[in-house]
């Protein structure tokens, strides 16, 4: 008890230290952009045709980082499956499902998936994008896994979706390398800002990220429910 209290005190002191340092050097409320951030805000729409600047930064200016982050997610899910391998989870008994839950889940899940797809397809126009859209789709699968008694998700479908979405992302980058001499470079026309078909490769990348994240998160949920599976 006393130890926990001490840890808590140390944590508190450290947080306060970080807060004090940061607020002393970089006072809040001064909204002047400097450095690369200023360039992005000034030239983002002109360069790439996406009216959502954050999206342009995430997928093209710093697209290489995003590819890395997608890999981090992929890796975490793989690592989870890999560590769970051999630990058999006894099949948990679901709580008594009422008719309302079962029927509601069945009708709600497609709508949630549709919302997820909307989010990642409009990533270059509205807030959102591949990551939140993919997570949204995974929540629909979670609903199905929890409320549907006879619902079986086949491992092979997830594996193929994961592998194809991930490798197509790298291939989009390689096509950019071939046509504009730069990995993940924009090789399409930027189009008219604000329209659904615009912003070059950003919608394509977000589509792939959406599928990748959706299948990854679903695979993680499936693994947690059923334990690691061998094959």
């Amino acid at each position: 008890m006393i130890r926990k209290f001490l840890y808590f005190l140390i944590l508190l002191a450290f947080s306060f230290f970080i807060y004090a340092v940061i607020s002393a050097y970089f006072p809040f409320g001064e909204n002047t952009l400097t450095g690369v951030a200023k360039y992005y805000v000034d030239n983002g729409v002109k360069d790439l045709g996406g009216i959502n600047i954050i999206t342009s930064i995430v997928t093209v200016y710093r697209g290489f980082d995003t590819l890395g982050e997608v890999t981090v997610l992929f890796l975490s899910v793989t690592a989870l499956a890999f560590t769970l391998l051999g630990f058999k989870v006894e099949s948990r008994v679901l709580p008594d499902l009422t008719l309302i839950m079962e029927t509601g889940g069945r009708y709600l899940a497609p709508l949630i998936m549709l919302l997820g797809a909307y989010i990642f397809l409009h990533g270059h126009l509205t807030p959102g994008g591949g990551f939140p859209g993919g997570v949204n789709i995974a929540t629909a699968f979670l609903l199905l896994l929890v409320t549907q008694r006879s619902y079986k998700l086949r491992k092979i479908h997830l594996t193929v979706t994961e592998a194809l979405a991930g490798s197509l992302y790298v291939i989009v980058g390689l096509v950019g390398l071939y046509y504009v001499r730069s990995f993940l470079g924009n090789f399409l026309q930027t189009g008219k800002p604000g329209y659904i078909v615009s912003a070059g490769i950003i919608p394509i990348i977000y589509l792939l990220i959406g599928f990748k994240v959706g299948s990854e998160m679903t695979a993680a949920l499936k693994n947690l429910k059923e334990g690691g599976d061998e094959h």
Partner: protein, 478 residues
């Protein structure tokens, strides 16, 4: 010549495709895991031989630095790329016949991806992303044996590693806020001259984060358990790929971004403490793999110490020594750990059985780690002592001499047991045998005639010391 970004692109592409490859044919993943390090090695060596002295800049996203992310490749990064991929090729080759599960190969490739990415990138946040890839795959690999020590080590590593990564990220954030850029060359050029307190704080955070992977005191408590519990190939990977990529990043950051006596002094103190604690701990270990793990920690401490001596004495030889120590440690420890596969009954320091071939291979590797004459390690270790004598730091000279003796003592204890132990016949894996012999011959040949190693190390050293060219090439526009 091939674009070096293909190293990262291909590693990623095939890591993503691994499950499908495994469905096509069971053997395919292990072949791919062998071909990719060979490809990386080919790219690395051709660039190392043909590249001019100016660093090569590879843009991504079609924007010039600092607006897009760039890879910045000079002889120093190629030197580490080659070292890491030689070891990776060796590990992949020696396990080609044995490993069936594609997930191992996938994690191996992703780990190599993280290491190569850290080495090639010229962007600070990008290095954090690759550090994450590299650390998460390492957590999973550390836990792969699912035994008590393996799981204990992996959990410790996971906790310490996550804290370390967060600190690294915090440091990157502070530097971004100060300089308005994430590109290493741009940050370096704006940090030249007077530094504010926040820059020192950022540097401390980043170093603290890297202490985990470079196995420096006080963040190395995970290492002995991981080394003891993990599979032999994974222990080899930890001591020869993971810690080497991390030490590259540490050298690059300390010398390029900060280059301040304060950081060098900190590294000297931490290096000495790490070396002392590790060597005395190794002396009292009963378990062979745990002893080798402590010895790895000690070598990393010594390499960091040699690097930091450069900052204090400004002898370029000190840094040269650090590179030699890194090469020697990577090759000899990869050899020792993978060779343990041939010594299945040799878990304890003072008992066990082994066959003559594996005893010989262990001996060659151990002699090189100790720095015995006529091995590559000799040149590395004699240089450390030489620098300390020339710059008149006598107390450190004697301390390190004593620690070298301690090291020799515990290795010779194992070697003498190997000489006296019962001979058993073990079924030797032919590929592992071939690769062990190649490494042993390399260590001995370079011990007699170290010219090649010296030339390559010198080239890397020259690229590293001329950071003005690096900075002006990248910031000067393309």
């Amino acid at each position: 010549m091939v674009n070096p970004i293909l190293i990262i692109a291909f590693l990623l592409l095939f890591a993503f495709l691994m499950p499908l490859l495994a469905l096509l044919h069971k053997r395919l993943p292990s072949v791919v895991a062998l071909l990719l390090p060979a490809f990386n090695l080919y790219v690395g060596v051709t660039y190392f031989l043909k590249m001019e002295f100016i660093p090569l800049i590879i843009k991504t996203g079609g924007f010039r630095p600092p607006f897009g992310i760039n890879l910045a490749i000079d002889h120093f990064s190629l030197f580490f790329l080659i070292l890491v991929n030689v070891v990776a090729l060796f590990i992949a080759f020696s396990y080609l016949l044995e490993e069936q599960d594609y997930k191992f190969h996938m994690l191996f490739l992703l780990n190599l991806l993280g290491a190569s990415g850290i080495i090639l990138t010229g962007d600070l946040f990008n290095s954090f992303v690759f550090l994450e890839i590299f650390a998460i795959s390492a957590y999973a690999l550390a836990a792969s044996k699912r035994e008590k020590h393996a799981l204990e080590g992996a959990v410790k590593y996971l906790v310490v590693g996550s804290i370390g990564s967060s600190f690294y990220l915090l440091g990157v954030f502070l530097l971004y806020k100060v300089t308005g850029s994430l590109n290493m060359a741009f940050i370096a050029s704006s940090l030249q001259g007077e530094k504010s307190g926040i820059v020192y704080l950022a540097g401390m955070f980043m170093l603290f984060g890297l202490f985990v992977e470079t196995e420096l005191f006080p963040l190395n408590t995970w290492a002995p358990d991981v080394y003891q519990g993990a599979y032999n190939r994974i222990a080899a990977q930890f001591s020869s790929i993971i810690s080497k990529a991390a030490i590259y990043l540490m050298f690059r950051i300390v010398f390029f971004l900060f280059d301040d006596p304060l950081f060098y002094k900190l590294l000297i103190v931490m290096g000495i403490i790490t070396f002392v604690i590790a060597e005395f701990n190794a002396l009292v270990q009963k378990d062979l793999k745990r002893m080798l793990g402590y010895s790895s920690i000690g070598q990393m401490g010594l390499a960091v110490l040699a690097f930091a001596l450069y900052g204090i004495t400004s002898h370029p030889e000190a840094f040269f020594t650090a590179l030699l120590l890194v090469v020697n440690h990577a090759i000899s420890k990869a050899m020792i750990f993978t060779n343990l596969e041939n010594m299945p009954e040799y878990a304890q320091v003072d008992t066990g059985k082994a066959n003559p071939f594996s005893s010989l291979m262990f001996t060659v590797g151990a002699l090189s780690v100790m720095g015995f004459p006529f091995t590559l390690g000799f040149w590395a270790k004699i240089e450390v002592l030489g620098i300390l004598l020339r710059s008149n730091i006598l107390w450190l000279f004697f301390l390190i001499l004593i620690l070298f003796m301690v090291e020799a003592f515990y290795y010779f204890r194992v070697i003498s047991n190997l000489m006296r132990s019962e001979v058993v016949s073990v079924k030797l894996n032919p590929l592992l045998t071939v690769s062990l012999v190649v490494f042993a011959l390399f260590l001995l040949y370079q011990g007699f005639y170290p010219v090649q190693t010296f030339i390559w190390t010198n080239k890397a050293l020259n690229a590293f010391l001329n950071k003005a060219i690096y900075i002006s090439t990248i910031t000067g526009g393309l």
